[in-house]
């Protein structure tokens, strides 16, 4: 049971990350390869605030969202004016520079050793110490994030967001401030990524720079795309499937040490197959162009 709960906790955390990316890539058509960087920045901010300033969960969550949003703003303003491939390159660079900072800014991030001893959560006096217990928090946050996302995409803001994703030029000609909208959704997605990062930090209680590399970005992209863009159900199906498949392999009896590699191979192959044969994903409504 504990094993299932641990797995479901991870899935819930990834649903949050995927939902954030969906706003950016699925709706607005902005291809950011910096998603792992924002998850990492969120996780590290919360971990640092929690271990050095002893802030509680809510406070470090808020602080983390604030810091990540500011960084997203600072990165977004110069880069989002770039179009297409330039932006992809810039965000890819953001990912590698974030890894370098996490590895080398030892005074703050503790470098390659990572941050230990992230406190255990108390909810209504219950210490969530056993591995599966954190599921309650993760699932609650996931539900909130999905509801907020649905409200957002049905609002007038969401309509314009889709218009920008479908045809930026038409949206601009219709008098919409496309750059402002792109920066706004970039910040929202950054904040969402931060939430996923904070959950990850509190679930694992130990983070290091290797968790937040380009591979994480690819994984979140894969989960979003396989599940399908523009649908809350797709946002859940993707992580469920990508986590479920390798676990199934474990039961078939493939050695534990190679699970990570087999997972990479499986979701890479799945990603290619889906782009060719089912571009809207399993439960999606949108086709990423």
């Amino acid at each position: 049971m504990e094993y299932i709960a641990t797995l479901l906790t991870q899935i819930a955390i990834y649903v949050v990350a995927v939902a954030a990316l969906d706003l950016l890539l699925g709706y607005a058509g902005i291809a950011s390869l910096g998603h792992a960087a924002f998850i990492g920045i969120g996780a590290y901010t919360a971990a640092i605030f929690a271990t050095t300033l002893h802030l509680g969960f809510i406070l470090s969550l808020v602080a983390s969202i604030a810091v990540t949003s500011l960084i997203a703003l600072a990165v977004g303003i110069p880069t989002l004016r770039l179009s297409g491939d330039y932006f992809v390159l810039a965000t890819f660079g953001l990912g590698s520079v974030t890894s370098a900072v996490l590895q080398n800014w030892v005074d703050v991030t503790n470098g390659p050793f990572g941050i230990y001893g992230i406190p255990v959560l108390d909810v209504l006096g219950v210490r969530l110490i056993s591995p599966g217990r954190f599921l309650i928090v993760a699932a609650a946050v996931m539900a909130i994030v999905l509801v907020v996302k649905q409200l957002l995409v049905r609002s007038p803001f969401g309509v314009v967001l889709r218009a920008v994703g479908a045809d930026e030029l038409v949206a601009a000609v219709s008098g919409k401030n496309v750059t402002l909208l792109r920066v706004t959704v970039f910040i929202i997605a950054g904040a969402g990524a931060a939430v996923a990062g904070v959950l990850q930090a509190y679930d694992l209680r130990f983070i290091d720079p290797t968790l937040f590399t380009i591979q994480l970005t690819v994984f979140v992209w894969a989960a979003l795309y396989v599940g399908g863009c523009g649908s809350w159900l797709g946002n859940i199906v993707g992580p469920l499937l990508l986590f479920g498949m390798p676990e199934a392999l474990r039961f078939v009896g493939l050695a534990g040490t190679t699970v990570a590699e087999i997972r990479d191979i499986l979701y890479g192959a799945l990603l290619i197959a889906v782009t060719i044969y089912r571009p809207q994903g399993i439960a999606g409504t949108y086709r990423v162009r």
Binding site: L89, S96, D264, L271
Partner: protein, 291 residues
């Protein structure tokens, strides 16, 4: 010290140049942001490792075989992934997703087959020539020599041969090339074959010194793409100049600061150029498509 760094910088620049020009060939014709060039590059290193260390083939024979295999690997990525996507009318972001899928698929495969340990291709230090206080290894010479051979040959190929001219026509305008009766699928195949072969050369030259790991390709291919942005994407000599400039700049960072900040430098240069001079130093603009 400075002299040594300049030598190292030129060698690094040569590797970037070989990768950048292959990437540019592919990008300018197919418009695919082929980030999976990184795993093609890594393929070259492992192919050479298999031939030399596992099969015991003499290095000078193994190198051209490994380069040819890498070229064929690139060709099959075109034929089995990008071509079906093109036929299905997939757009820019969908192709990017497939590229990421390729990265994940092959990085996992390399790690599974070869483990994540560094596979050394040779034992002992490289033969060194001492010029004053500067030591120049045989690889430094080979990298610079290879760059000096490859670029003029490529320039001649693109301007003087029928195939080269067809490739440039395709880069200019695919519809018109199709109307002229050119077989664009075959041309894309040739381009991926050539670009990947160049990546194979770069990989062997790097791996002889540093060995092979599954993730060896990312930073170096990213640097090569940045070199391309610096030099201007559509202009071969610009790519060459950008690659050497970046290689030297990185070494100066090592000298003044720390190896760790190399990737920060690459990123900063990328952002500066993208914002201030997106057409590159020499003014050949990267074409981006809307929608």
């Amino acid at each position: 010290m400075l002299g040594q760094l300049i030598v190292n910088g030129i060698a690094a620049g040569g590797i970037y140049a070989l990768l950048a020009v292959g990437f540019a060939l592919i990008y300018n014709t197919s418009r695919v942001l082929h980030l999976a060039h990184a795993i093609v590059y890594t393929f070259g290193a492992y192919a050479f490792y298999c031939l030399v260390v596992l099969l015991g083939i003499w290095g000078w024979v193994a190198a051209p075989i490994a380069v040819a295999l890498t070229g064929m690997f690139g060709w099959s990525i075109e034929a089995f992934v990008y071509r079906p996507l093109r036929r299905a009318g997939a757009g820019h972001n969908a192709t990017l997703i497939a590229t990421l899928g390729l990265i994940s698929l092959f990085q996992g495969t390399y790690a599974l087959v070869f483990s994540t340990d560094n596979k050394m291709l040779r034992a002992g230090p490289l033969p060194v020539y001492q010029v004053g206080s500067i030591s120049i290894t045989i690889l430094h010479v080979a990298i610079v020599g290879m760059t000096l051979v490859v670029f003029p040959v490529l320039q001649l190929f693109l301007t003087q041969t029928r195939l080269g001219i067809a490739i440039r026509a395709l880069a200019d305008n695919r519809e018109l090339a199709d109307i002229q009766g050119m077989d664009s699928d075959r041309l894309y195949g040739v381009i991926f074959l050539m670009g990947s072969g160049l990546a194979g050369i770069a990989a062997i030259l790097t791996a002889l010194d540093l060995g092979a790991t599954p993730d060896m390709g990312f930073d170096v291919v990213f640097a090569a793409v940045v070199a391309l942005v610096i030099g201007g994407v559509g202009y071969l000599p610009g790519a060459l100049a950008g690659a050497f400039a970046l290689g030297l700049a990185q070494q100066l960072v090592v000298w003044q600061l720390n190896t760790a900040w190399q990737s920060a430098l690459v990123f900063t240069l990328l952002i500066l150029f993208l914002i201030l001079r997106p057409q590159g130093f020499f003014g050949a603009r990267m074409v981006t498509r809307r929608v």
